[in-house]
């Protein structure tokens, strides 16, 4: 069966290579037959890649250890669902998933736009083809999932921390996001090469960008929850380089989604938008390089491999291609209008863009710092949490405030008088919230207090916007239906506020204590009464090694109730891992979070206990974010009709 997988991948490589070469020839010589043939090759590449993916999935489900990949990432005792998650648990399988998503997205994008945007599609095909050709080449020649061997009796197994429901959804979600950013990049590059830099590429790719951004954002929230319940260090985001690798393209895409509105309305920021699309794509590929190359240490990265050099070459090549293209088309991209006032909606979008890009580049510097110090000083130095936290406050808090001010500022020009009048309710809400927080003793953390005050401001802004808009149109449904992008965006803003409340609450106001308890002993932590009841030791053995699950059971009283289990799993082959004990108080959105640190010779156990106020708002924010994104994403038939009419009129 491995032969079929290998053959399918070779076919994918040849098809994508053909799409790149014949597509370029067809577009340059305006040969429609050749261009259509290249397009068909890209679509066919998706199906041949799908065959390869099915072969690997079947091998994983059937525990076919003649595949080296299957034996390296699964074992016989692994359930079917987790055996399938091993598809993206290793280097080769995740590369195959990347190629599958890329060819799938590419085929869908060219088929959906083949009539309306023919002049762009002829260039989109070779660009997507070239990118897919790189990935299929790596899969065929450098890192194949179809290497075979004499089958061992059992496989090495999947790391216990990856055997978690979040790992079923989190990586594919991120891949849908990372790879999705290729489509807007391909359309932007096609617009520049063809010289058709009108708005059509933006209309065609806005939803692709939104979808990629949604998957990337939601995928990160899922990953944060996985880290929270599984990794066992007491947090959900560690500013790990691979976590940052997903955050950076998301920030660049967020900036693009805002600045593109200025181009649509005023024809401005055309160069900037090209830069942002290219930046988001480059950062996605760079993130892939970070994860796969082994140049950084992360629990999320794959083992060090020779693949890194290929990816570095690819990152450099695509970056040079983007820069040359933008410089070449600068005269065509020049704006014909100017910003009319520093107090206008477009100006607030511009400030928001500057802050987002500044935050993105700050994170990038933090990620690159250990690599650069290792390269030039032969001693890697990492940027620690305070660096990131500092810049998150410096750029994040003004961003939060702008999220409240922006929607209330008029387009083109606003007077300070009108702005103050529209802002009076949000300002009043912020003052009341701030005063109330100080009164209840929440003034101990200044960043936390500012975040809460700004959050009250933004939430009131959203309510004011909805009330005024409903009054003006007569119905809330009509209001949202007429401008789904704007009101979907407001729901996303509400999600960001929930996220800010959750992060501020769980970090600025959390309690963290260590307790050493003997069986029967009780301790109190902030209204919770914890009694260490018993200890269970459950050994298990597989062909590949032994595993012991040490579980401590705690009785919970006071604010909580019932019992709570927390475990330390020791595996001879896969190392130690934690199963955290969590009890949620939904009224306070607070978690009691207990980690079993170690068992001592005298029978006592060392527990690390956290109380995390409002942490659950972060997970709720994920679903609100998803809902808002879907509202904004929903297809708009009127927009499509407008585009068709425009084109028909332009062609006479």
């Amino acid at each position: 069966m491995a032969d079929l997988g290998r053959a399918a991948l070779v076919v994918s490589f040849l098809l994508t290579l053909y799409a790149a070469c014949a597509g370029t020839y067809g577009a340059l010589r305006k040969e429609r037959g050749v261009a259509d043939s290249a397009r068909n090759a890209l679509v066919a590449a998706f199906f041949s890649t799908a065959v390869a993916a099915v072969v690997l999935a079947l091998a994983l489900v059937n525990h076919d250890f003649s595949f080296a990949y299957v034996s390296a990432h699964t074992s016989r005792d692994l359930s079917t669902v987790y055996a399938l998650t091993a598809f993206w648990g290793g280097q080769e399988g995740s590369l195959l998933l990347w190629l599958l998503v890329l060819t799938g997205y590419g085929a869908l994008a060219v088929m959906l736009n083949r009539r309306l945007l023919r002049d762009l599609i002829v260039w989109v095909v070779p660009i997507v083809g070239a990118i897919a050709a790189f990935f299929s080449f790596v899969l065929v020649a450098v890192s194949s999932p179809f290497v075979t061997q004499t089958p061992p009796l059992d496989g090495a197994g999947l790391t216990p921390s990856l055997q978690n429901p979040y790992m079923v959804a989190h990586p594919p979600m991120l891949y849908l996001g990372y790879v999705g950013l290729t489509i807007p990049f391909a359309f932007a590059a096609a617009a520049m090469i063809s010289g058709h830099t009108d708005e059509r590429w933006i209309v065609a790719t806005r939803r692709w960008t939104l979808a990629a951004w949604m998957f990337l954002g939601f995928g990160q929230i899922l990953g944060a929850h996985w880290a929270y319940v599984e990794v066992g260090w007491g947090g959900y985001y560690a500013w790990d380089p691979v976590e940052n690798a997903a955050l950076m393209p998301w920030l660049a895409a967020t900036a693009f989604l805002h600045s593109v509105m200025i181009q649509e309305r005023k024809g401005m920021l055309r160069v900037w938008n090209m830069v942002l699309v290219a930046l988001a794509f480059e950062l996605a590929v760079f993130g892939d390089f970070l994860t796969r190359s082994g140049v950084i240490n992360s629990i999320h990265s794959f083992a060090k491999s020779s693949i890194g050099a290929w990816f570095l070459g690819f990152v450099v090549a695509t970056a040079v291609f983007s820069v040359v293209l933008i410089l070449w088309r600068l005269p065509l991209l020049r704006a014909r209008t100017k910003l009319e006032s520093a107090l206008s909606r477009e100006a607030t979008f511009l400030y928001n863009n500057l802050l987002l890009v500044a935050l993105c580049l700050t994170v990038l510097w933090g990620v690159l710092f250990p690599v650069l110090t290792d390269l030039f000083l032969s001693q890697p130095r990492t940027m620690s949490r305070p660096y990131y936290d500092f810049f998150l406050r410096i750029f994040g808090l003004p961003l939060l405030l702008l999220m409240g001010i922006g929607p209330l500022v008029a387009w083109r020009r606003a007077s300070a008088r009108a702005l103050l009048r529209t802002l009076r309710w949000p300002i009043a809400a912020a003052i009341v919230a701030g005063a109330a927080l100080v009164a209840v003793g929440a003034g101990s953390s200044r960043p936390g207090l500012i975040a809460y005050t700004f959050s009250a401001f933004v939430l009131t802004t959203i309510v004011v916007e909805l009330v005024r808009g409903t009054r003006a149109t007569g119905s809330l449904l009509q209001l949202v239906g007429r401008n789904r992008r704007r009101y979907g965006g407001y729901v996303v803003h509400a999600a960001i506020v929930l996220l800010a409340l959750g992060i501020a609450g769980s970090s600025a106001y959390q309690t963290n204590v260590e307790r050493q308890l003997k069986p029967g002993q009780t301790t109190k932590v902030d209204g919770y009464r914890l009694t260490y009841q018993r200890f269970q030791r459950t050994p298990s053995a597989t062909i590949s090694g032994r595993q012991v699950t040490n579980t401590a059971v705690l009785g919970v009283g006071g604010r909580g109730h019932g019992t709570l289990d927390t475990s330390l799993v020791e595996s001879t082959t896969l190392g130690p891992s934690h199963e955290v004990g969590i009890q949620t108080d939904w009224l306070r959105a607070q978690d009691l979070y207990v980690i079993l640190e170690q068992q001592n010779a005298d029978g006592s156990v060392l527990f690390q206990v956290f109380l995390k106020p409002l942490v659950n708002l972060i997970w709720i924010a994920g679903f609100v974010f998803l809902g808002g994104s879907l509202v904004a994403l929903w297809p708009d038939a009127r927009e499509q009709r407008r585009l068709v009419a425009r084109l028909a009129l332009a062609r006479g």
């Binding site: 399918a8 429609r32 037959g33 043939s37 068909n40 008029a410 007077s415 009108a418 332009a650």
Partner: protein, 96 residues
């Protein structure tokens, strides 16, 4: 062996799909003047932007984000921009 045959079949199917456009008659495409079409598209976008901006201005005025004086000052130039784009389109001979 059977897997290799299946692989060869996939390759043959791919070749057929890729070769298909060469056996189809080329569709008739009116060779529109690209420069004129490009200019028209530019003017249509300009017109649509001005009309959308007028709609937005109206909405901002109704929701109190913009006061009467600013509204009166801004509405004139926007109407003129939309009218100029329409006139230029007419001059290019575009038909609605």
């Amino acid at each position: 062996m059977i897997w290799l045959i299946l692989g060869a079949l996939i390759a043959a199917a791919a070749v057929a799909v890729v070769a298909l456009p060469f056996f189809r008659p080329a569709p008739d495409e009116a060779a529109a003047d690209e420069a004129v079409a490009e200019r028209r598209l530019e003017l249509i976008e300009e017109r649509d932007r001005a009309l959308a901006a007028l709609k937005e201005l109206e909405f901002d005025h109704r929701t109190g984000k913009i006061d009467d004086a600013d509204y009166r000052e801004l509405v004139g130039p926007l109407r003129r921009t939309a009218a100029a784009a329409l006139q230029a389109l007419d001059a290019l001979g575009a038909k609605e």
